[in-house]
């Protein structure tokens, strides 16, 4: 899990006090696209961790592919980067140009960014082109902790920005 920001509580207090929100359409897209990619990373990793087997190089490579897609979505939402790959299913995001509040950007960048970076580092350190190796089981647990951490962050931020849940 990404280390908490020093001013984390202050940021969440500011979100609450200033009633900073995320448009519902953005939340919807984020849950749709990030939800799929984070879920895929979870299921790939969990399928090996439960069997107590290392993640083979080919499937570890898939983790990096999904991570890249999450990065694309985050960069689009935070930086409004252009999405160039026409084949990407994240096409609807092309039309999103709503700027998020800088505090939300900071939180996204820190939490999702660091967890993804952590996963990339773990995986890349094993499947390095010169001598690719399976990702060991104990590292799979670390990857699962990071995917769970991304979900927790999304849930916490959604609640903080007053996106009510009515199940």
């Amino acid at each position: 899990m990404a280390n908490p920001l020093n001013n984390e509580q202050a940021l969440y207090d500011q979100i609450k006090n200033e009633k900073i929100t995320v448009p519902l359409v953005i939340w919807d897209l984020m849950y749709r696209y990030l939800g799929d990619e984070i879920s895929a990373m979870t299921q790939i990793t969990l399928s090996y961790w439960r069997c107590n087997e290392p993640i083979p190089v080919s499937d570890a490579g898939k983790l990096l592919d999904h991570s890249k897609k999450i990065n694309t979505v985050i960069r689009k939402i935070i930086y409004h980067d252009e999405i160039k790959d026409e084949n990407e299913k994240i096409g609807e995001l092309r039309n999103i140009n709503t700027k998020l509040h800088p505090i939300l950007n900071e939180l996204f960048f820190h939490y999702i960014g660091n967890d993804l970076y952590g996963i990339d580092l773990i995986v890349a350190s094993y499947i390095d082109e010169s001598d690719p190796q399976p990702v060991p089981v104990e590292m799979a647990r670390k990857i699962l902790n990071k995917t769970a951490s991304m979900k927790l962050f999304m849930d916490r931020l959604r609640e903080a920005t007053n996106q009510e849940v009515r199940i």
Binding site: R32, L46, T147, M150
Partner: protein
């Protein structure tokens, strides 16, 4: 509980989610079938009469989405337990699914083993009442 007698159909348009979810459930001893779109899901449903269907609401570019699959399963009179996979922002769909008898939702992003506990709980109930299928 003899899991090997319980058939589970996993339906998600994201291939890695479908494939690896199936792998996890197979490891746990269930009979698992997979589909990446609505039409394939219905074809497998008709052929295999699964006890449980893990059904993603949004099936990408599939002509038949998860809600339609759910409706057709219900109209067939089957007592297949459907567990919908959706996202927390999709309240309207969840409400509709509830009226169609869905008892459980798996919310994306899926994390850790929480989703698996729900599937096991549903499977346990099916086994206890020995639902006739197939």
């Amino acid at each position: 509980m003899d899991r090997s007698k319980i058939k589970i159909l996993v339906v998600d348009d994201e291939e890695d989610i479908t494939f690896f979810t199936a792998k996890i459930l197979q490891y746990d001893g269930f009979q698992v079938y997979k589909a990446l779109d609505g039409a394939s899901a219905l074809a497998v449903f008709e052929k295999e009469c699964p006890h449980i269907c893990l059904l993603d609401v949004h099936l990408g570019y599939s002509k038949i989405d998860g809600m339609e699959v759910l409706e057709k399963i219900r109209k067939s009179g089957s007592d297949t337990e459907c567990i919908m996979i959706t996202r927390i922002t999709d309240q309207e769909t969840m409400a509709k699914a509830k009226t169609l008898g869905v008892k459980e939702y798996l919310l994306k992003p899926l994390a850790m083993e929480d989703w698996l506990k729900k599937v096991h709980a549903v499977a346990e109930n099916i086994d206890e009442r020995s639902a006739p299928h197939g």
